[in-house]
């Protein structure tokens, strides 16, 4: 469904991504693991159209080329990004944030059923629908961000460090919700530091190192891989 080939990106002289290639199949959950500065966020931003990759990069979604398209058009193609730091509209209410999630033409006519799903997934958001988002806790804001992304009716949902800064209990709930989103048939592409949690809901994983993809395998194999254990699991939990 998503095919990335030879994705390169540089900021000035700094090479952030060096000929990265990856694939996400329909309904597949894929995790990208790697240390800080490995280029994981840059990768998601390039796919979402927020940063423009170097020439020679191919990114296609459902066989259509999306590389170089502005971010608001990538949303229309069916890719939603929950950015690092959540990117919610803090001065607007939960309800307004969700309504804006369905701003894309592809989503507008389905706004009601999407909202029902989001409220079913996160009942807390329904209770607090009139609250301003910047008065909510980090975990609740993350729900708003994910809910808003789901409102755009994506076929692929990308999440950049969704568990960052959240309490362990909240992280557990978050991954439970991601599991339910996955059951709905959405493809997920997740960048995470929390290796155990993310691999537990994933089908496959890629290892990112210094702007390159250094390996990939099934989630099960990665969980049992001694090198991965040493590189990531020891460092986190």
């Amino acid at each position: 469904m998503l095919e990335v080939a030879d994705l390169s990106l540089h900021y000035g002289r700094h090479v952030a991504l060096n000929r990265v290639s990856l694939k996400v199949g329909k309904g597949e959950t894929v995790v990208i693991l790697g240390a800080n500065g490995a280029g994981k966020s840059s990768l998601l931003k390039s796919i979402a159209g927020i940063t423009r990759p170097d020439g020679g990069t191919t990114i296609s979604f459902e066989t259509r080329a999306i590389v170089g398209r502005p971010a608001h058009e990538v949303v229309e193609a069916g890719i939603a990004l929950v950015p690092e730091g959540r990117g919610v509209f803090g001065d607007l209410t939960v309800e307004e944030n969700l309504a804006l999630g369905a701003y894309a033409k592809r989503a507008r006519n389905h706004a009601k059923e999407s909202r029902d799903f989001v409220y079913d997934l996160f009942p807390k958001l329904k209770e607090r629908r009139a609250q301003y988002v910047n008065t909510m806790s980090g975990g609740e804001q993350q729900m708003v961000a994910i809910g808003r992304a789901l409102m755009s009716k994506p076929d692929l949902l990308m999440l950049d460090e969704p568990s960052l800064g959240l309490a362990p209990v909240v992280v557990g709930e978050l991954f439970k919700s991601l599991g339910r989103i996955r059951e709905r048939g959405l493809a997920l592409l997740i960048v995470e530091q929390n290796v155990k949690m993310s691999l537990s809901i994933a089908d496959r994983g890629y290892l990112a190192e210094a702007g390159r993809i250094s390996g990939d395998n099934t989630a099960e194999a990665l969980l049992g891989d001694a090198a991965v254990q040493r590189a990531f699991l020891g460092a986190t939990h």
Binding site: H72, L81, F89, E96, Y103, A149
Partner: protein
């Protein structure tokens, strides 16, 4: 006298609020500090004057022409002058500086055109200059109409921005421009629309002002300044802020002119401005951290 001052203050304040709403849209959403804003107001005032004295068209009907014209002018100015600046701007601050310089130039061009066309004389016309009695005081009917029009336009804009998805999207751009594209909002298009709506509101304000005030080709600067004070006092990009700050400013100016000394009006303007900013540096309704 108290009721009279209160009513005059509301009329003036309503006008300030109306005019400031347009500027707060242009600054809050389009991120353009439009120094030629007052010239757009005065241009609309002259348009209303020409339509009234030349064509016999009353200002209320004139709005139907002036507001779309203001919208179109704003749309064109953004497309021709601002788009290139937005494209080359590295960050918010550099766009702000560039737009200040560009609109500063536009100010003089528009002012020059109006000076050539209308001269530097005070201009006014007499429309609905009949006394009406409200709460025991008499007021010119055109002032009452001015207040009604400010309420209608301000209220309409408020409903448009808060009750429609399209308006909510514009506010989203003001709140978090980096996140807006993630929900499919074309930020450049939103900025252009907001700038054009600001132009339409400037035109509405100009027509309203022309009904009860005298103006010259060079008074635009005064309105830009007043609008800017109201916008900053209310919190940049905040409609309710612009509305309340506009009313406060109008009331304070009128009360000082009535009870203290008309010569102190400007001092009162800056006094209240300073007081509000000392008390709330981000404005009445502004939030410091964004």
């Amino acid at each position: 006298m108290l009721v009279a001052a209160l009513l005059s203050g509301l009329v003036l304040g309503g006008t300030y609020a109306l005019v400031a709403m347009g500027l707060t849209l242009q600054y809050g959403i389009s991120r353009i500090m439009n120094l030629a804003y007052g010239e757009m107001i005065i241009a609309a005032a002259f348009l209303a004057y020409v339509m009234f004295s030349g064509l016999g068209l009353n200002p209320v009907a004139g709005l139907l022409i002036a507001v779309p014209a203001g919208f179109a002018l704003g749309y064109a100015v953004y497309g021709v002058m601002m788009s290139p600046l937005v494209k080359r701007a590295r960050d918010k601050a550099s766009l702000e500086i560039d737009s200040i310089l560009a609109t500063f130039g536009l100010l003089f061009v528009m002012q020059g055109v109006m000076l050539v066309a209308f001269g530097a004389n005070f201009t006014s016309y007499s429309y609905l200059n009949d006394p009406v009695t409200i709460f025991g005081t008499t007021l010119a009917a055109n002032r009452v109409l001015a207040l009604v029009m400010a309420v209608v336009f301000g209220g309409g804009l408020y409903l448009l921005l808060t009750r429609t998805l399209w308006g909510t999207a514009l506010r989203a751009v003001a709140v978090n421009p980096a996140a807006a594209p993630l929900v499919g909002i074309d930020v450049n298009r939103a900025a252009r629309l907001a700038f054009a709506i600001g132009g339409g509101l400037a035109a509405a304000g100009g027509v309203v002002i022309s009904m009860y005030q005298t103006f010259t080709a060079t008074t635009g600067v005064v309105f830009t300044m007043k609008a800017l004070i109201v916008v900053i006092m209310g919190g940049v990009g905040n409609l309710i802020g612009a509305l309340s700050a506009g009313l406060i400013l109008g009331l304070v100016e009128t009360f000082v002119a009535t009870y203290v000394d008309p010569g102190l009006t400007l001092a009162a303007t800056y006094g209240i401005f300073l007081a509000v900013l000392l008390w709330r540096p981000a404005g009445l309704f502004g939030r410091v951290a964004r």
